[in-house]
């Protein structure tokens, strides 16, 4: 009948019942994953655009992180009464991990708004823009990771088998955060003051997350750190890279964060997916 047709795409758009909405959301997610050529390009493009025609290009990311670490490292090590030798690698990992968190969550609420041009002019899966943001931050983390590598070499961190745990650690870390733009993006598109609110919240959360300090420094008040899921997310990346193994609690909380987060994100995405182009 249709011998000449290769693939014929049939699309029906219109208000959906619950099951159709779920199918729509999952199709979008699948489509977003297979759209990797587009979001890897967009992520590279974002970074290149920022450092267009500057002398160092994206290496400025590395340099600025290095300067930050050097300055903060010396001062805070003294304040916390810690050895610079152990503190600086600890701090450089903390800062790079925190940058990732802050960007994925903070810019996450803007991930659809900032792609409004693409969303209203082309038909692409909306999750494309979520993956774009996550991948962009992975690229940035790759650049700033160099700073940690240098400190690890300079301060002679001995490789241990526990370092292999960094691989599952990073994977779980990314999974446990990648749902945030999917959940916050629609909210940020619908309520334009939310991105600001989230920035303010992140500033506060920074102080109760052991980025610059160690959880055990809190002594009796260690519970503050333990109840904070970010403590554990930071730990599953940082500890292996410092040669130690994360605790069972770290892994459990990270897994839970990923599970609950994605359930939340997909649940809301099912409901709001078709409204997002109207909101941006």
């Amino acid at each position: 009948m249709q011998a000449a047709e290769t693939t014929l795409s049939v699309s029906v758009t219109g208000p959906s019942n619950g099951l159709q909405a779920l199918h729509g959301a999952l199709t979008d997610l699948r489509g977003g994953l297979s759209d990797w050529r587009v979001w890897t390009f967009l992520a590279h493009h974002d970074i290149r655009a920022r450092y267009r025609r500057s002398t160092l290009g994206p290496l400025w990311l590395t340099l600025s992180m290095a300067i930050q670490i050097s300055a903060m490292g010396v001062v805070w090590a003294t304040l916390f009464n810690m050895e610079i030798r152990t503190f600086i690698p600890y701090l450089s990992l903390g800062m790079l991990i925190w940058s990732f968190i802050t960007s994925v969550v903070g810019e996450g609420s803007l991930c659809f708004v900032s792609s409004a041009g693409y969303i209203t002019q082309t038909k692409r899966p909306l999750t494309t823009y979520v993956f774009q943001l996550v991948f962009k931050n992975l690229l940035i983390a790759g650049h700033t990771f160099l700073v940690y590598l240098v400190t690890a070499i300079v301060f002679q961190i001995t490789p241990t088998p526990a370092m292999l745990l960094a691989v599952p650690g990073v994977v779980l870390f990314v999974l446990a955060l990648a749902w945030a733009p999917l959940f916050l993006g629609p909210i940020g598109a619908r309520f334009r003051d939310i991105p600001q609110v989230i920035q303010s919240i992140l500033m506060v959360v920074f102080f109760i997350t052991p980025v610059m300090w160690k959880p055990d420094m809190l002594g009796e008040r260690a519970l503050i750190a333990i109840l904070n899921p970010l403590t554990h997310l930071v730990a599953i990346v940082r500890l292996p890279l410092l040669g130690e193994a994360p605790s069972t609690l770290n892994w459990t909380v990270a897994l839970l964060t990923a599970a609950v987060g994605w359930t939340l994100a997909i649940g809301s995405f099912v409901r709001v997916r078709t409204r997002i182009p109207y909101w941006v």
């Binding site: 014929l8 795409s9 049939v10 758009t13 208000p15 041009g117 002019q121 082309t122 078709t274």
Partner: protein, 250 residues
């Protein structure tokens, strides 16, 4: 079989600014904008498309005409699947290529050749298709050695030539255009007319919104007339243009 069917399509935009309540009172019944009303939840809602129904198939070239604010762009986006209708549905068989911004995604710092790949990516071309068509795109654009230079070094005319060359290398099932490509660059259009015609003849269905009756006459075999979100005419091009003219006069 390539076809596109709109079935009682409605698109409603909620207005979330609280002050819109009084806006509603002053702006209601304004000229040609989408009709504005309060819905049951006391939200102000703009009905951009109201019960639009039509069907077109392989070989149709549909023009969309109407005053500003009538809903042409909204309809195109809805047909593209960018907006899902609030009521009704759009059923399509065939791959839809919305070509609303001919240069979408172009990277100023990338070379002409790289931008061919980039645009191909956004136009859903496969890697093989892009590599296959790159030489003839390059040739038609007549940009020669400039193709190895970043496009920020191009004049605006050169950028248009490149974007146009890429866009017209597509083989779309269904092409949606919002205003004619390169509108305003009459000299270039004259030179590119043959390529454009070849391109459009390869298109199975064309939907084109335009303010230019001339372009609609040239390109389309059917037309719909939109007014305040409603479909007030669906007929041959000549009939609809006549209806539009009499609407303007009245």
């Amino acid at each position: 079989m390539i076809e596109m069917i709109a079935d009682s399509v409605c698109v409603e935009f909620p207005i979330y600014d609280a002050k819109a309540r009084s806006l509603k009172n002053t702006v209601l019944n304004l000229g040609s904008g989408g009709r504005i009303q309060a819905n049951a939840a006391n939200k102000v809602v703009v009905t951009a498309l109201d019960e639009i129904s039509f069907s077109i198939r392989d070989g149709d070239r549909l023009g969309i005409i109407g005053p500003n604010g009538a809903g042409k762009t909204t309809l195109l986006r809805t047909l593209a699947g960018i907006y899902e209708p609030t009521r009704g549905r759009v059923m399509t068989q065939g791959h839809i290529a919305p070509l609303f911004d001919i240069a979408l995604g172009m990277d100023q710092d990338a070379t002409g050749y790289e931008n061919i790949r980039i645009r191909g990516l956004f136009l859903d071309m496969s890697r093989e298709e892009i590599e296959e068509r790159a030489p003839e795109i390059a040739e038609f654009s007549e940009l020669g050695p400039y193709l190895d230079m970043p496009i920020r070094t191009y004049s605006s005319g050169m950028r248009v030539r490149l974007a146009f060359a890429i866009a017209t290398s597509l083989q779309p099932d269904i092409l949606l255009l919002d205003e004619m490509i390169g509108a305003g660059d009459a000299v270039f259009l004259a030179r590119a007319t043959k390529r454009l015609q070849d391109f459009l003849s390869r298109t199975r269905i064309l939907v084109l919104a335009s303010h230019s009756n001339e372009i609609i006459r040239q390109m389309c075999n059917k037309a719909i007339l939109l007014h305040q979100g409603k479909l007030v005419g669906f007929d041959t091009v000549d009939e609809v243009i006549k209806a539009y003219a009499s609407m303007i006069v009245s």
